[in-house]
């Protein structure tokens, strides 16, 4: 176990540095001098030069990279040169929004995905299984901006039950936070839940047609016992892998959802800073997402250990 963890951790570090180089280079390749962007089109070369020195853009690129990484690792994410505010300060308000949305969407997705996936697997040869399969296809195909707009039109505008957008901080009024979270979570969660439904269904159907399930039943295991003690257990590995991917890809979904429901989250922050060419902020924010995804994958790897005891055997 410890060797496995150590190797995973090494892989984590390698991935961290490789992606940091990639992001650092990409942000610079995209072009656009931040100093010019900041000062406007008619700025004098002297003024541009001054800003460049101030931002450290005049130094050799390798030094710039290491300075960035060292600051990043020590938790200093710099200052947004546009607003003049510290990035840490901006993040403190944005991250809780994104995390709330992600967790909300995941809860909705898991609540939809697991029961429906299992039912659809058990009934896979029957009409109800086909019907569930059909609806999950629709769920996968529905874009968030469309389902989200429908949801907010119906529940927000027509019925007036829930807010159509915006955000209230948890510390201010958590009941209001929850109310603001419902529609975005459902909008984002439906699509993910449909994907989970399909994967759970496929994984469980695949396991249940294995010979060893028949063996279990041959020695007196009932169908439902076989489903729960063999089927779900053996299907859990592919499902966890997919869940890991889904959690990673959730970031993409939150960009659209946060924009659609005007939530001041991390994804919105990145988008705003890309538009305003605040490259230092962008590269820091993207790096935060990279670390988040790496951590999720790390957790997925570790969870294999608790699910598949064979891995513990030398």
């Amino acid at each position: 176990m410890s060797i496995f963890l150590f190797r995973r951790f090494l892989a984590f570090l390698v991935a961290f540095f490789l992606t940091s180089i990639l992001i650092f280079v990409l942000v610079r390749v995209i072009g656009g001098n931040p100093a010019t962007t900041l000062l406007g089109e008619y700025s004098t070369p002297e003024a541009v030069r001054e800003i460049e020195i101030q931002l450290g853009l005049d130094r050799p690129i390798v030094i710039q990279y290491f300075e960035w990484i060292i600051n990043l690792c020590s938790g200093d994410l710099g200052t947004s040169f546009r607003s003049g505010l510290e990035v840490n300060y901006l993040l403190a308000s944005a991250i809780p929004v994104s995390i709330s949305l992600s967790i909300g969407a995941l809860i909705v997705a898991v609540l939809i995905g697991f029961p429906l996936g299992i039912i659809s697997a058990v009934k896979s040869y029957r009409g109800s299984g086909t019907a569930l399969d059909f609806f999950s296809q629709i769920g996968v195909a529905m874009p968030i901006f469309w389902s989200g707009a429908l949801l907010s039109m119906f529940f927000g505008v027509r019925l007036g039950l829930l807010p159509t957008g915006g955000w209230v901080g948890w510390s201010e009024n958590y009941a209001q936070s929850l109310r603001h979270l419902v529609l975005p979570s459902i909008a984002l969660g439906i699509g993910i839940g449909s994907v989970i439904t399909r994967f759970v269904r496929t994984a469980v159907v695949e396991v249940m047609r294995q010979d060893y399930v028949r063996t279990g039943r041959a020695f007196g295991m009932s169908e439902y016992r076989a489903l729960f003690s063999i089927g779900l257990r053996n299907a859990s590995l592919p499902i966890v892998t997919v869940l890991g991917n889904i959690v990673s890809h959730l970031v993409g979904g939150t960009v659209i959802t946060e924009t659609l429901f005007s939530m001041p989250g991390l994804s919105r922050m990145i988008l705003d800073n890309v538009i305003s060419r605040d490259i230092l902020v962008v590269q820091n924010l993207v790096m935060i997402i990279v670390v988040y995804i790496l951590i999720v994958n790390f957790i997925v790897d570790i969870s294999y250990f608790s699910l598949d005891k064979r891995l513990r055997v030398k």
Binding site: T215, A218, F219, G220, S222, E223, N234, D308, R310
Partner: protein, 322 residues
């Protein structure tokens, strides 16, 4: 004359209009070992699975199959769960896929035992170890802690045999128990199976395509072709003096040392043609398309003629001697 344990009458296994097993009749007495032989696709495995009530979705059995007086065909799933393992159990082929790859051998054996609630004088662990010894598994304690992929094919097959005999069933169906085992140790595995069957006083239905296995271990034989029993009876008489053209051809295509000694110039004897697929079984005798003695009479399905102790389903039984 011992009592009948399993009585199968007019028994078919079908899915819609397709039949894998067609109107078969046979009996298995207590303590008896019955061998079922035939080519792949003759319906042997489906027959075995159907007796366990483990047919794939869409398949069902009709007719009658009575196990110690209880009708299996109409039995509810709940009652079937109750008798599986205890009254009737099965040894599967392909031991690697038949065992759960994610559970230790000990855990899987434990389940096969626990469900049976067999009263035992010795403790549970002792019972498992005694059984492991009777299965001739080296280092039983260590093997129980292993996962299926860590054992050899022969060891895994013995474990499957152990699961099948764990709860003292009265009838054991063994579906090609040695196909996935190296030919060198096939004999060992079969010996373990037979010795355990004898120890329990159980009956055995041994499904195989190996005639030699049947003649070595069984008392009675059933020869199946395209879902039908073409010949059945005591092994000695059927193997020594086959009546049905298919049985003759099957025995004739058995490779013996004679063929090897006579050199490679001689081609191995084969039955020409192929067994019809279950979707396209011709009317009348299904073997007529490959049979040397087929005539117009074969357009009608021959009944099971009694010749001494055996049944033969053919219009052209030349001699009536045993």
């Amino acid at each position: 004359m011992s009592k009948d344990l399993l009585t199968v009458k007019n028994y078919s296994v079908s899915s819609g209009s397709i039949s894998a097993v067609r109107q078969v009749d046979f009996k298995v007495s207590e303590n008896e070992k019955l061998g079922i032989v035939g080519e792949s696709g003759a319906g042997k495995s489906m027959l075995g699975l159907s007796l366990m009530g483990l047919l794939p979705f869409g398949w069902e059995s009709t007719g009658s199959a009575e196990l110690a007086g209880r009708e299996l065909v109409s039995m509810s799933e709940k009652d079937l769960v109750g008798i599986r393992g205890r009254d009737i159990s099965m040894v599967f082929q392909d031991s690697l896929s038949a065992l759960n790859p994610m559970k230790k051998i000990g855990k899987q054996l434990e389940f096969a035992f626990k469900h049976a609630e067999v009263s035992r004088s010795e403790s549970f662990d002792e019972y498992i170890l005694t059984l492991m010894h009777s299965l001739k598994i080296d280092d039983p304690e260590l093997s129980l802690q292993k996962y299926p992929h860590q054992l050899s094919g022969g060891q895994r097959q013995r474990i499957l045999i152990g699961m099948a005999v764990a709860c003292n069933p009265r009838l054991i169906v063994a579906d090609e128990p040695t196909t996935s085992v190296d030919s060198v140790i096939q004999r060992d595995v079969l010996d373990v199976l037979i010795s355990n069957v004898s120890r329990l006083g159980a009956s055995l239905v041994l499904i195989t395509h190996d005639l030699a296995v049947v003649s070595n271990y069984c008392e009675k034989i059933i020869v199946m072709y395209a879902g039908k029993i073409v010949e059945s009876g005591p092994v000695v008489s059927v193997m020594g003096n086959p009546k049905h053209p298919y049985t003759k051809a099957l025995i004739g295509s058995h490779i013996s040392l004679k063929h090897i000694k006579s050199g490679m110039s001689k081609r191995l004897p084969v039955i020409p043609g192929m067994m019809p697929a279950i979707q396209a079984i011709p009317t009348g005798c299904a073997f007529k398309t490959r049979c040397g003695s087929a005539t117009a009479a074969c357009e009608v399905q021959p009944p099971n003629f009694l010749v001494g102790e055996r049944t033969v389903s053919c219009w052209h039984i030349e001699d009536q001697s045993e």
